[in-house]
Amino acid sequence: MAVLVIADHTNSALNDATHKTVTAAKAFGGDVDVLVAGQGAGDAAAAAAKIDGVRKVIHVEGEAYKAQLAEAMEALILPMMGGYDALFAPATSMGKNVCPRIAAKLDVMQISEVTAIEGTDTFERPIYAGNAIMTVKSSDPKKVVTVRTTAFDAAGESGSAAIETADAPAGPFKSTFVSEEVSKSDRPELTSAKRIVSGGRALGSEEDFQKYMFPLADKLGAAVGASRAAVDAGYAPNDYQVGQTGKVVAPELYIAIGISGAIQHLAGMKDSKIIVAINKDEEAPIFQVADYGLVADLFKVVPELTESL
């Protein structure tokens, strides 16, 4: 049995989501190969070769792979699937974009965002914003799986798998990369951060969001997240959104500030180890999941908290 894992990377670096997906693939069983498709992705391929338990890395270079667009990825991966029993990818924006295309072409039902693997055909996955956990048994000959990375530990980095290169399909493809606007920050990345401070609608403006959240984050060495309401209002960029339809996180410490705790938000953070809520409404639902709740005006207590750390 063999599993192909699609690596999530930025060309220059491999994302930690890949290590977690390898752990999930190993729980599924069989040999695990990792595909690194990119442009100038030699470093990412080298990093993938170090992941424990990887049989080999397949490194593909091509201009169309710079942003790993789905159409080009399909052309590359579909012909490879003859040699694999399963395709695994992290449920990142890349994995979510690419995998269903391949599943459809293989005529199999994708199993999205699995949180547990019981053998080679049975998987657990959250549905209804994590309000229910469904166990499904797949009758398809090949499995296509996206992995909720917060549910799996990152595989270690003491391996030394061989790196094979493979040719990129010629193209052209029906989609082309035009541009990107990458949010730059020196803070840790949200999905792999050990600590997160997350701000909601109560912050009131982009200016105050930055003024109150950033110094606290910096004191804690934390990443900054946000509720949908804060993102919609333009206080924070879209990639800060935590929740059912944003990023799913599970840090050691999650501090929710001026966030009410709608089910869609809880879906993205309720597996955090310690949750702190700061909210002036003592009835706010966020307190139902918080280990420590402080009923107070954030504009008063957040500076105090920052000061006292």
Binding site: I102, I133, K174, F177, T191, Y292, S308
Partner: protein, 248 residues
């Protein structure tokens, strides 16, 4: 240009879903059902394209039980022109939905299909991508901005690192993210008008699609409940708690 918008009837997003005691699923009896919020955004986008003179006709399609007709009516009241109900006994998996939608696309020849990125019940996030694959069309998923210029569709996508813009050679599939637009409420006159708009009824057989599930549901269970902790008096007490818990 003709635009096709698939809309799904799901549990209303304000309702907290309850798992059935026998673990066979989520209890939907007497629960408020609505259009999936991402599908509302898709309908709104199509209506705006029509208002700009880009779209000429908007066809909405839903695959589901008879009551999915109400969801189609909502879309018609927002400004879609006609509906297609593909009637099924119960829920259909995304792969079968995508196959039925492929049949609808072949019959209707739209140049753009706009879907939601995700249905908030199954949280699958796959139907649009599957449809694009089956049609061999390009896809612009998780869209926060869509512009149509002749045969080209430019889509700005919400991705993990920020925003990404791709150019698609139409016909194309687009899936909507939250920031694409804010859907309108249908006005009373438009709700009345929508009652007269046509809804065609079809079956999966009309498209030669076998809807038998590939994933058998073994069980549906409650997630482990998280206990509410304690309230602390002030910042000093909070800091002390976090220190003793080893969190800071």
């Amino acid at each position: 240009m003709k635009v096709l918008v698939p809309v799904k009837r799901v549990i209303d997003y304000n309702v907290k879903p309850r798992v059935k005691p026998d673990q066979t699923g989520v209890d939907l009896a007497n629960v408020k059902m609505s259009m999936n919020p991402f599908c509302e955004i898709a309908v709104e986008e199509a209506v705006r394209l029509k208002e700009k003179g880009v779209a000429t006709e908007i066809v909405v399609v839903s695959i589901g039980v008879q009551q999915a007709q109400e969801t189609l009516r909502t879309a018609l009241a927002m400004g879609a022109d006609r509906g297609i109900l593909v009637k099924t006994e119960g829920d259909v998996e995304p792969l079968a939905v995508a196959k039925i939608l492929k049949g609808v696309v072949e019959a209707e020849s739209p140049e753009l299909v706009i879907l939601g990125k995700q249905a908030i019940d199954d949280d699958s996030n796959q139907t649009g991508q599957m449809l694009a694959a089956l049609l061999d069309w390009p896809q612009g998923t998780f869209a926060s901005e869509v512009t149509v210029d002749g045969g080209k569709v430019s889509v700005t996508r919400e991705v993990d690192g920020g925003l990404q813009t791709v150019a698609l050679d139409g016909p194309a599939v687009v899936t909507t993210d939250l920031r694409l637009n804010e859907p309108r409420y249908a006005s009373l006159p438009n709700i009345m008008k929508a009652k007269k708009k046509p809804i065609d009824e079809k079956s999966p057989d009309d498209f030669g699609v076998d809807v038998s599930p590939r994933l058998a549901v073994v069980k549906v269970s409650e997630p482990p409940a998280r206990q509410a902790g304690e309230k602390v008096e002030d910042v000093a007490a909070l800091v002390a708690k976090l220190k003793s818990a080893g969190a800071i």
